[in-house]
C-alpha cells in the first residue's frame, strides 16, 4: 500500500512538473501586482469580464478595477502595446495553449489605450 501511494505521488509530481515545463511562456507586459490573486484570475477572469460587460453597457456601472481596458493597461506587451499581436501575447498565448477561442477582440481593441491614442493623434 505504501508503495502504491508513493508511486502515485511520484507520478503526480512528475506529471505536474511536465505540466510546468509545457506551460506557455507569456509576455505579461508590465505585469506586477494583479487586482486579484493570480491563480484566482486564471480560473475566473472570464466571469469578471462577462458580468462586468453587462453592468457597464446596460447599467452604465463602469468598474475600472476589473475592466478589460485595465487588464490591457498592465498586460499589453511593452514591445508592441498589444495583448493579441503575437503568438506569445498575454491573451493569445494562453488561449492557444488551452484551445479556447478568443473572440473578445473581434470588437474590442487589444491595444493599450495610451498607445492607440498616440498612434491616432499622429495621423
Amino acid at each position: 500500500m505504501k508503495l502504491l501511494v508513493s508511486l502515485l505521488l511520484t507520478l503526480c509530481v512528475s506529471l505536474a512538473w511536465a505540466g510546468e515545463a509545457a506551460s506557455p511562456k507569456l509576455d505579461i507586459g508590465k505585469g506586477g501586482q494583479c487586482v486579484e490573486d493570480t491563480q484566482w484570475m486564471r480560473k475566473n477572469h472570464m466571469h469578471l469580464l462577462k458580468h462586468g460587460r453587462d453592468d457597464a453597457l446596460r447599467l452604465g456601472i463602469r468598474d475600472e478595477k476589473h475592466s478589460l481596458k485595465t487588464c490591457i493597461e498592465c498586460h499589453a506587451s511593452t514591445k508592441d502595446d498589444s495583448v493579441t499581436a503575437r503568438a506569445d501575447s498575454f491573451c493569445v498565448g494562453c488561449h492557444k495553449y488551452e484551445a479556447v477561442k478568443l473572440d473578445c477582440f473581434e470588437c474590442h481593441s487589444g491595444t493599450r489605450k495610451s498607445a492607440w491614442l498616440q498612434q491616432r493623434n499622429a495621423k
Binding site: 506586477g32 447599467l59 452604465g60 456601472i61 475600472e64 473581434e106 470588437c107
Partner: protein, 238 residues
C-alpha cells in the same frame, strides 16, 4: 444639474486615471481606490439641441469628429457605417435652404428597442439608446424600424478600433451619444467639434442646464414628432 450630480461627475473626471504606485522598479501596485461608477441614473435625460440657423451648409466638422472619435471610415457607400449625416433641405414653396446634422434621436419610446428579438437594442436609464453587441445577432430589424435611418450594419471585419468604442462585424450600431465620454464627464465629439456651437448637449431634466434653459426659452421641434417617440434630440429653425 444638482450639486450632488456635479460632484459625482467631477469625481469621475478626476478618478478615472488608474492610480498606480511603484513598489519596485518595473512593478506597479494598483491602489484599491479605482473608481466603480454608480451607473446611469433615471433622474437624468441626456439630449441635444441643434440650432440649424448656426449650422453652415457645406460644413462637415461634426461628421468628421464623430468618425474620428468612433473609428468610422468616413466612406458613405450603402455598406459603410454612418452614425451622423449632414442633410440639406429646401422648402420648395419659399426656396429657404437649411443644413442640419441627423443622427440617432435617442427616442424615449424607441421602436428599435421594441422590435429587437434579443434585447440587444436597449435604452439606458439616462435615455441613451445603445446596441448591446454581445447580444446582437445582426438581424437588422431595428434598422428597418428606425424612422430616422439612424442605424448601420457592420459588413466587414474591423481592426484597430478605439479602445473606448468596441465595434465589430455582424452587429448593428448607431450614435451612442459618445456614452464613453459622457460617463467620464465629457460631451459628444460632434457637439465639441462644431465651430458655431450649433449642437448643445446636456441634461434635459436639470432645469439649470444650458440645454434645459434654452428649450424653455426658444422654439424647438422634434423631427417627426407625430410619431410620438419623444426623441432626446431637438432642432431649432426647421
Amino acid at each position: 444639474m444638482s450639486d450632488m450630480d456635479m460632484d459625482r461627475r467631477n469625481f469621475l473626471k478626476t478618478s478615472v486615471g488608474a492610480a498606480a504606485v511603484a513598489i519596485a522598479p518595473g512593478m506597479l501596485l494598483y491602489s484599491v481606490a479605482q473608481a466603480k461608477s454608480e451607473g446611469a441614473s433615471s433622474k437624468v435625460r441626456w439630449g441635444m439641441l441643434i440650432d440649424t440657423n448656426q449650422c453652415k451648409p457645406g460644413c462637415n466638422d461634426c461628421v468628421t469628429a464623430c468618425n474620428r472619435e468612433n473609428g468610422l471610415s468616413g466612406e458613405t457607400k450603402s455598406t459603410d457605417s454612418q452614425w451622423i449625416r449632414k442633410i440639406d433641405i429646401k422648402d420648395i414653396s419659399t426656396g429657404r435652404e437649411i443644413s442640419l446634422p441627423m443622427m440617432c434621436q435617442h427616442c424615449e419610446n424607441p421602436p428599435c428597442v421594441d422590435v429587437c428579438p434579443t434585447n440587444a437594442s436597449m435604452k439606458r436609464a439616462d435615455g441613451i439608446v445603445l446596441v448591446d453587441k454581445h447580444r446582437c445577432i445582426g438581424c437588422r430589424y431595428c434598422m428597418m424600424a428606425c424612422p430616422y435611418k439612424a442605424r448601420s450594419f457592420v459588413h466587414e471585419a474591423l481592426t484597430d478600433q478605439n479602445p473606448d468604442v468596441p465595434r465589430g462585424k455582424g452587429t448593428v450600431e448607431s450614435c451612442t451619444l459618445c456614452v464613453h465620454r459622457i460617463d467620464v464627464g465629457g460631451k459628444p465629439a460632434c457637439s465639441e467639434a462644431c465651430p458655431n456651437k450649433a449642437i448643445v448637449f446636456g441634461d434635459l431634466n436639470d432645469e439649470n442646464s444650458e440645454i434645459a434653459q434654452k428649450v424653455r426659452s426658444v422654439a424647438s421641434v422634434q423631427v417627426r414628432a407625430d410619431l410620438r417617440l419623444n426623441p432626446g434630440v431637438r432642432y431649432q429653425g426647421i
